[in-house]
């Protein structure tokens, strides 16, 4: 393009724009730079891009920096190939337009240079998106985002590319974070509390799945028993973002309170569906505002439709929305006015959802006759706080009827996805690290999962007939527990907030390590005045005074380890009378709450489950050991427990005893949850295993390990008191109360 001999080509380069940008002697320097770039030999495309973009950059930031750009293009091109060199001048122009400041522009160039060295393969995709990126991020945020991508890939170029092409959803998430958008997780707790305060409404709130379409992720969505909340509303920052989340939830809650039956879709057209939904939105909002007039102040600021303008369907719908909530809004459109009049005429019937259907249907017909364009594919409900209305309609979809199951499915899919995610992008330098590590562990364990157990120990069994122990009679086989959906555990905690809160407050009162005043001591820091007076009184009346006249303050502290042993024999599969849950479900719930309490107290604890299949296969499942954290893995193993086989409890008590004996705490407690009498298929004498278990408990007691049993079978008193002693067991007669009783019992046992 520029030939060494060509005066004419230089003339061609010096377009009027270039002459303007590079006055006088600058023009010569710029031409020299162009020639230099050409001599580097990156190809014509790079040179052309530079010669075209650099005058515009010079216009904005001055000629110097535009000329210096050549060297930067060179370094980037060497590292990241020609395509990058070709894109850089245009990206630089975008950056110049966005930043409009030489210092910022230079630091932006620095970032790009470093980025080209770190992730040459991704430079092109980032440069292509520069305008959009810089629209959301300033330079330092941009750098932070770039580094997040580089680090999260951990040196794997393919993963990096996935990140920077936005194929990895993490990229978007980090972008939102860096751009300072408030994400729902920051506000989740307070907003949930808000719903409870207003309506006592407790609904699980989840993020829409990352695979959902962009369109589906822009608005809040709900269905029976579940709210899907976008992680962020782009464009809303700070307090505004908080308000839009709050407004969304209040609106969805209004649906939960006042939209009862779903509307049948039948043969309605998309436009009619949109209008009926709109009227329904207004109806539930008005009902909610009757109860809580202040909600109008929450919702109204989002209605920004103007009273005139183009008569396209989305605009008319937004105007109607506003007309229905804003008493001061006057609309020019006859259709909007008609909608408003119809709606308010029937104020007394607002309680009934049928009016939405009626008024909406009518307005839909009118709008249809006005031949207004409506494209259901691009239509997004306005204002942004309103939901996508999917929850209002019955799509005759058999899958959606059993929501419980659908949600379970969703949960398990999510768990699997998290495992996958882990292989692609753990961002080790960010705060999510801990969580990622947990998932890492979970992923590892599922690989290592095996169906065969490993025999680990043999224990004697006590024969009451001979009065002796039979050596090496039982074999403990440790099985690797199967991981289950960890979401199940979270849901248990979610579902029982009352108990969780009660436990938490009990924990904190137990944790504070309250000082305790010890009175009437033989020695201490100060005189116990009551005791002194007593002593003086005693002396006066001529009796020997009690020498315990001192008092002292002491801080209570806990020094205790607990092993929780769960019976998962066949009988634990039984349904609890009058409930849908099985005994095992309740055991699991109880253990989750208990583990919550123990983790909160910081007591070292272990969880194991057991069942047996004859004496040579007493199965022992380690859910969590003393030295392991109570993390996602432990929770998923707990969720995956399944019942089966028999209850040979003595051997298990001995095995657990060995574990506990290794703990150096002052008090060691074995807490057994069992639902039936000890039994096994190779034992016919019912007394035999009971006596053996009793012997095992006594052996543990001799080693200073306390055993406590929670019996779940009514009428188990006889054998439970035989095995554990009269004071060392409780009988839970109403099984459904186990989840709340177990943690309380534990706290009482150990306080």
């Amino acid at each position: 393009m520029i030939s060494p001999d060509g005066e004419r080509s230089e003339d061609r380069l010096l377009t009027p724009a270039a002459r303007r940008a590079f006055p006088e002697d600058m023009a010569a320097r710029w031409l020299r730079a162009c020639r230099k770039l050409e001599q580097y030999g990156y190809g014509d495309a790079v040179v052309t891009a530079y010669t075209r973009a650099s005058p515009a950059i010079a216009e904005i930031l001055g000629p110097e920096i535009s000329i210096d750009l050549v060297e930067r293009i060179s370094t980037v091109t060497i590292k990241a190939k020609r395509k990058a060199g070709e894109l850089l001048p245009w990206a630089a122009l975008k950056a110049a337009e966005r930043l409009r400041n030489e210092r910022l522009f230079r630091s932006w160039l620095g970032v790009i240079e470093r980025f080209a060295a770190l992730a040459p393969e991704s430079v092109v995709s980032v440069l292509e998106k520069m305008d959009r990126l810089l629209a959301e991020l300033n330079v330092s945020r941009f750098e932070a985002w770039v580094l997040a991508g580089v680090r999260s890939a951990g040196g794997d170029a393919e993963r990096r590319l996935r990140f920077f092409t936005f194929a990895d959803p993490q990229a978007k998430r980090w972008l939102q974070r860096e751009s300072g958008e408030v994400s729902f997780t920051d506000l989740e707790r307070r907003l949930k509390a808000y719903l409870i305060a207003l309506w006592r409404l407790r609904v699980p709130i989840r993020e829409p799945s990352p695979s959902a379409s962009e369109h589906a992720r822009r608005r809040v969505s709900f269905d029976r028993g579940l709210i899907l909340m976008p992680p962020a509303f782009p464009g809303y920052r700070g307090l505004q973002a908080e308000e839009v989340f709050r407004a969304s939830l209040a609106h969805v809650a209004a649906h939960f309170m006042y939209s009862r039956e779903k509307f049948a879709l039948r043969s309605l057209k998309p436009l009619q569906v949109a209008i009926i939904s709109l009227i329904e939105d207004a109806r539930v909002e008005h009902l909610a505002m009757r109860e809580f007039p202040g909600l109008r102040r929450l919702w109204l600021p989002f209605h920004i439709a103007q009273s005139s303008g183009a008569s396209t369907a989305p605009i008319l719908l937004a105007r109607l929305s506003r007309a229905l909530i804003d008493p001061g809004f006057e609309d020019a459109s006859g259709w909007v006015c008609k909608g408003r009049d119809r709606f308010f005429e029937r104020q007394d019937e607002w309680e009934s959802p049928h009016i939405s259907r009626e008024i909406g249907g009518l307005l839909g017909n009118d709008l249809g006759q006005m031949r207004v364009q409506f494209n259901p594919r691009t239509y997004v409900v306005e204002p942004p706080y309103r939901d996508d209305n999917m929850g209002l309609w019955d799509f005759d979809d058999p899958d959606s009827s059993d929501h419980e199951e659908a949600e379970l499915l969703f949960e398990s899919v999510r768990f699997a996805q998290r495992e996958d995610d882990d292989t692609s992008s753990p961002d080790r330098e960010r705060e999510k690290q801990g969580e990622d590590d947990e998932v890492n562990r979970a992923a590892l364990s599922s690989e290592a999962y095996q169906d065969e157990g490993i025999p680990v120990a043999r224990y004697p069994e006590y024969d009451y007939v001979t009065g002796r122990e039979r050596a090496d009679w039982t074999t403990i086989v440790e099985f690797q527990p199967k991981p289950g959906p960890a979401g199940l555990i979270e849901r248990i905690l979610d579902d029982r907030p009352d108990i969780v809160n009660r436990i938490t407050s009990l924990i904190s009162s137990a944790l504070v390590g309250r000082t305790e005043r010890l009175k009437r001591q033989t020695e201490g820091e100060y005189l116990d005045i009551d005791a002194c007076i007593d002593a003086v009184v005693s002396r006066r009346i001529g009796v020997t005074p009690d020498p315990h006249v001192y008092a002292t303050m002491r801080r209570r502290h806990r020094d205790l380890s607990v092993l929780v042993l769960l019976d998962i024999s066949e009988s634990s599969k039984d349904k609890v009378l009058g409930a849908t849950a099985t005994v095992l479900d309740l055991e699991r719930q109880a253990t989750v709450l208990l583990a919550h309490a123990m983790a909160g107290l910081g007591d070292p604890f272990a969880i194991a489950a057991f069942c047996s299949n004859r004496r040579d296969e007493v199965r022992y499942y380690r859910i969590k050991d003393f030295d392991e954290p109570y993390d996602a893995l432990a929770r998923s193993l707990l969720a995956g427990l399944e019942g089966g086989l028999s209850t040979r409890i003595g051997a298990v008590i001995r095995h657990a005893g060995v574990d506990l004996a290794g703990q150096s705490s002052h008090r060691r407690l074995l807490l057994i949850v069992t639902d039936g009498e000890p039994s096994d298929v190779d034992v016919t004498d019912t007394k035999y295993l009971v006596e053996d278990a009793r012997k095992a408990v006594l052996t543990l007691a001799a080693e200073g390990i306390d055993t406590f049993c929670v019996g779940l079978e009514s009428g188990g008193d006889s054998y439970l008191s035989r095995i554990f002693g009269r004071r060392n067991f409780v009988q839970i007669d109403r099984l459904e109360r186990l989840p709340e009783r177990l943690p309380m019992l534990f706290l009482r046992l150990t306080s």
């Binding site: 509390a193 808000y194 409870i196 007039p293 202040g294 809160n501 009660r502 007076i533 003086v536 009184v537």
Partner: protein, 265 residues
Amino acid sequence: MNLDEYRIDQEPYYRAIGNEITLFEAAFADRMPMMLKGPTGSGKTRFIEYMAWKLGKPLLTVSCHEDMTASDLVGRFLLDAEGTVWNDGPLTLATRYGGICYLDEIVEARQDTTVVIHSLTDDRRILPLEKKNEVIKAHRDLQIVISYNPGYQSVLKDLKESTKQRFGAIDFGYPPTDIEGEIVAHESGVDKKAAAQLVNIALRSRNLKGHGLDEGASTRMLIHAGQLIVRGIPLGEACQVALVLPITDDPDMRDALTSAIAACA
């Protein structure tokens, strides 16, 4: 000695919710020990003051706490220049001279302390003072009344069965909304409408009990908010001062409450 200084001269304001006044009068006729259960600020103490006034009996109130010993109730020897003197505790005073002995928040006291009332709360009606080697036969006007908040602490702090079963009980919940509004309006002087708003706000906070709050806003708190409103403070701020800030330090709960208050008015 008489307990005139413990008598209540002026009628305290008490708005009956059910037939608790009749019930208490009947119990008093037989000097049956009574237990008033209910959350804080629900009117237990006001009720017993009202009853003491209505029945014309002295009222001896003891606020129980963890470090309280039996001597704090029964009395103790104190030293003076001459040697030791016995000093009657409030329980002993009420037993000797007749009156209602009201043990407020009894669960706060240790269990070994509360057993001293056992001999007074069954048909023996005596109080042995071991240290003085004396047994007091209860005055015919002695009635033991305890109050008790069956709240969060009840697992670790609970009454012994043997204590519980000596008492009859009256349950004090929060009053129904219209009556609560009436009480708030009377006690604070706000108008009916503002009182109704305050009660509505209180219901929101009570919904959060167990979901981040240990206890919802009590009637007493509403009265405080009402008093601020009467002094010209706007509702929102009055609720911040009297309700949101005292009730929790958790920023999320404060935010939820504040927003709920905004929704109510």
